[in-house]
């Protein structure tokens, strides 16, 4: 049974990149993708995936608001924050209950970054 993931990011390019990586390398099933916070919350509600990746800066509804709504409804949700805006905003999200974070840019060609990605997923699913 593959783990399921919903990816939410306003960059279509990044969405495709992550979708490929999650499916082909991490062996996840990408059940849906969204481009803003509103879609993120809807998709989580609809699919209740094992993991949701949330970008922080997104139109319509930002990642932090989406995170708060998702966790309000599903306290056990596993949320991975993906952001280029570092520091305090990520810290706030982790404090709110996001499980981990990854920093943009998504340098998948970099071994260090891939290692970080793998390790981060391990940490999220560690019990």
């Amino acid at each position: 049974m593959k783990r399921t993931v919903v990816i939410v990011d306003d960059s279509k390019f990044l969405l495709r990149l992550m979708q490929e990586y999650f499916q082909e390398v991490m062996d996840f099933e990408v059940v849906a993708t969204g481009v803003n916070g509103v879609q993120g919350v809807d998709l989580y509600r609809r699919f209740q995936p094992d993991l949701i990746c949330l970008d922080l800066t997104m139109p319509v509804k930002d990642g932090q608001t989406a995170l708060t709504e998702i966790l309000g409804e599903f306290p056990e949700a596993r949320v991975l924050i993906i952001s280029a805006v570092g520091g305090p905003s990520i810290l706030r999200c982790i404090k709110l209950g996001a499980k981990a974070y990854l920093e943009k840019p998504f340098r998948l060609e970099d071994e260090e970054f891939r290692k970080d990605f793998r390790q981060t997923l391990l940490e999220i699913f560690a019990k």
């Binding site: 520091g87 982790i94 940490e123």
Partner: protein, 812 residues
């Protein structure tokens, strides 16, 4: 355990040792069992043997009596059988009586016929010879048959036989034997023999046996008891011997357990316990040594760690999860943070956090609490609100890098956080300088590329136009009024007429347009910095036009941007000047063959008969390839700037007269010499006042002059450095063996200075990439001489040196 704690005691320990008791019991039981078994066996065998002897003796006694009785009966029977049949009753009585009398054991004697009629009856103790009849209870009268049980039994006897009976209250055995004659039984002889003596003998035997038995038993008892005592003693001794070293060891172990390591253990023997004791002693010594020196070692280590911490550039302190700083901090941490003491302060005080950052720190600690066990520390540490901080001006505006490390207690719980701090002011400054330099160089390359890849007149035009626009902006910016009620501004200040009054948005729009034009054109040339500056100004102007920003607030920034733009345009113009000279120095490129042809023709045509105009034309043609002195000497300018970049000294280079046109051919002849002279001047010719030589720290000035005297070209390279001391030169020359002392002393000052052209004569201590090996001036001199020229030097210590090259006009 509890008991041990309650009485630590010395190594000798109480005798109630469990081990001792066990060993003792085991020995005792084993000895006891074995000895008890042996003793009982021996005793039983002995008793059995005695019992058999007793029974043997009893049987022998009985047999002896029986044999005696039988013998008496048989013998008497045989005697009686020989007697005649008649008249013999007296004789029979006598025989019987005598037999009874002869043996005190015989109680009675009877002879009876087959009808049990007693013919003779004698009893012991009766008068000799017996009587006519038994005096004692003969059963019935003599004349009548005997009917008692014994007589009935005796009458049935057909051979010698016996049976127990009783006579006169005494136990007896009656022996009966038939008296036969010719197979015919005549009568029965009966003797009663008292068993009294036999019983006495038997009794005696039994008594002796019993006595022996008692003796044996008591002997064995005694033996058993002494064996028991022996067993106890030997077991006790053995148990003591085996358990003593162990108990000693135990005692020592207890003392060590209580922190007393002085109890020495003596190990002799070679058994396992001795080996154990030896190992234990070694351990004790090590533990004693270790614990004895523990404090010393700990102190030593602490001192080392402190030393390291105090001497490394990194500072270190720890803080608790409540954001209070602990006393354990390094000296360098205090120094870096500019505080006398960190302990007792809060993290907010130490890191100069505002309330917002402090709240973030609390959030961070909460996040750490949640995830420190599952998440990688480096990722959590990255979330810390402060990664780098800038201290206030009071502490010199230091830039401090902060790194965090978790500290766990032995149970793996997060208890505090260690902060490693490092003063990175210098490295950040260096980084920013490198970055600025990189940007500057990149921009320079872009500027050069922009200038060289565009027609010079286009570049010139752009620069003129931009400079003019910027000039207007600079002047009018401060005069622009803020968007007041009617939104009007003034152009040209108060003194301008009312026709000059233009509303603010229009002005902004005009400036925006100009700015945009500059930006676009600069972009076309690739002048990136100018593009950036124009873009920023444009953005501000745009915002101002839309009323997004407050203009008076924005004004200083706009002014700065305009200033920077002006500076950048100036910089571009400078580069352009360097690349293509000023307008007078812009030369057409012509094929050399064509120039040579024109010059050859001019030489031929040059005749004084020509009209002055034609002569001027010919002259112009002759000098067609001439170039200004400044452009011809650019190479040396570059050389000076390269050297000064390496030595990091400020060296100015000037030529005079810069505009004089000169045949490049002439300069080619002195080029080699000039390269050496100029380089020397750049390296050594620094102001004497501020230090000379490559190690001095000062600025320099190099002048290259050209003059044309009658038939000669004269080049002079002059510096304002330390000059050359002629005496130092001669001393060095003498030391190098170039000339002897007398010859040196004979030289005049000028001649002494000429020594500097001597090959291999260097004033520099060691060669490097700048100063040579003392060959430069020699080469310069030789190269000039090849064209028939000369080179000379004049110098005054402290005032600089001046090298002069004189080249004949028609050299070569």
């Amino acid at each position: 355990m509890k008991e041990m704690e309650s009485k630590p005691g010395p190594a000798k320990l109480s005798s109630k040792g469990g081990l001792r008791k066990k060993v003792f019991l085991s020995f005792a039981v084993q000895f006891g069992l074995v000895l008890g078994l042996v003793f009982s066996l021996v005793m039983m065998l002995d008793l059995y043997r005695m019992r058999r002897n007793f029974h043997g003796a009893q049987g022998a006694i009985t047999k002896a009596i029986v044999a005696k009785g039988k013998h008496q009966a048989m013998r008497t029977g045989m005697i009686l059988a020989t007697l005649p049949e008649n008249g013999t009753s007296t004789l029979i009585r006598e025989i019987i009586g005598a037999t009874v009398a002869s043996d005190p054991d015989i109680l009675y004697g009877i002879y009876m016929d087959t009808d049990r009629k007693p013919l003779a009856y004698s009893r012991a103790g009766d008068a000799s010879g017996g009587g006519s009849g038994p005096s004692a209870p003969p059963p019935g009268p003599l004349s009548s048959s005997l009917t008692d049980e014994m007589s009935l039994w005796a009458s049935s006897v057909r051979d010698g036989s016996f049976r127990s009976t009783e006579a006169g209250g005494e136990k007896a055995i009656e022996f009966a034997a038939p008296v036969k004659r010719g197979g015919l039984i005549l009568g029965i002889v009966r003797f009663g023999i008292a068993t009294k003596s036999m019983d006495a003998a038997l009794h005696e035997t039994r008594r002796a046996w019993r006595k022996t038995k008692e003796l044996t038993i008591s002997l064995f008892g005694l033996l058993g008891f002494s064996t028991f005592l022996m067993t106890i003693w030997s077991s006790s001794v053995l148990a003591e011997k085996i358990t003593k070293p162990i108990r000693a060891l135990t005692g020592s172990a207890i003392r060590i357990a209580h922190g007393d390591y002085r109890a020495k253990i003596q190990a002799d023997g070679d058994d396992e316990i001795a080996v154990l004791a030896e190992a234990f002693e070694t351990m004790r010594e090590k533990v004693q040594d270790y614990t004895g020196n523990l404090q010393m070692r700990v102190d030593e280590k602490v001192r080392q760690v402190r030393d390291i911490l105090d001497n490394v550039k990194q500072g270190l302190f720890t803080f608790n999860l409540d954001l209070n700083v602990n006393p354990d901090c390094s000296l360098s941490a205090c120094q870096i943070l500019g505080m006398d003491e960190l302990a007792g302060h809060t993290l907010a005080e130490v890191l100069r956090l505002g309330p917002q950052d402090e709240a973030l720190f609390r959030d961070w600690v909460d996040v750490l609490r949640m995830h420190y066990e599952t998440h990688r520390w480096e990722k959590l540490a990255k979330l810390a609100p402060v990664q780098e901080l800038r201290l206030g001006a009071g502490t010199g505006g230091k830039q401090i890098k902060v790194e965090y490390q978790k500290i766990l207690d032995p149970d793996g719980r997060l208890i505090k956080i260690m902060a490693l701090i490092q003063d990175v002011t210098e490295s950040r400054l260096l980084e920013s300088r490198i970055w600025e330099e990189k940007i500057r160089l990149e921009n320079k390359v872009r500027i050069i590329l922009g200038i060289t890849s565009n027609p010079p007149e286009v570049v010139s035009e752009f620069l003129k136009e931009s400079a003019a626009k910027i000039e207007v902006m600079q002047k009018s910016l401060p005069l622009l009024g803020p968007p007041t009620g009617n939104g009007a501004g003034k152009r040209g200040g108060d003194e301008g007429g009312p026709e000059d009054v233009i509303d603010f948005p229009t002005w902004i729009r005009i400036m925006y347009k100009d700015c945009h034009t500059i930006k676009g054109n600069a972009g076309a040339f690739g002048f990136e910095v100018l593009v950036e500056l124009a873009h920023e100004l444009e953005t501000r102007l745009d915002h101002a036009a839309r009323g997004k920003i407050n203009w008076p607030e924005c004004l200083p920034e706009a002014q700065r941007l305009v200033r920077d733009m002006k500076e950048e345009v100036r910089r571009i113009a400078e580069v352009r000047l360097l690349l293509s000279g000023n307008s007078e120095e812009v030369y057409l490129r012509l094929p050399e063959s064509k120039i040579a042809k024109i010059r050859a023709l001019a030489d031929k045509a040059g005749s004084p008969k020509l009209a002055p105009e034609l002569l001027a034309l010919v002259d112009c043609c002759k000098t067609i390839s001439y170039r200004s002195f400044s452009s011809l000497t650019r190479k040396y300018r570059d050389l000076v700037s390269r050297v000064s970049m390496k030595t990091q000294k400020d060296v100015a280079f000037s030529v005079s007269p810069p505009g004089l046109e000169l045949d490049p051919e002439v300069l080619l002849r002195v080029d080699e010499a000039l390269v050496h002279l100029v380089r020397n001047a750049a390296v050594y010719g620094l102001d004497a006042a501020e230090g000379s030589g490559p190690t001095g720290s000062g600025s320099g000035k190099i002048e290259l002059t050209y003059a044309r005297t009658s038939g000669e070209h004269v080049f002079t390279v002059k510096d304002h450095g330390a000059g050359i001391d002629p005496d130092v030169l001669t001393r060095k020359a003498v030391a190098a063996g170039i000339l002897d002392r007398e010859a040196a002393e004979a030289l005049g000052e000028k001649e002494k200075l000429q020594l500097i052209f001597y090959p291999g004569f260097s004033t520099s201590e060691k060669p490097d990439s700048l100063s040579g090996r003392g060959m430069g001036l020699t080469i310069a001199s030789e190269s000039v001489r090849a064209w028939g020229g000369t080179i000379s030097v004049a110098s005054r210590p402290g005032l600089g040196s001046s090298f002069t090259i004189t080249l004949p006009e028609q050299g070569g």
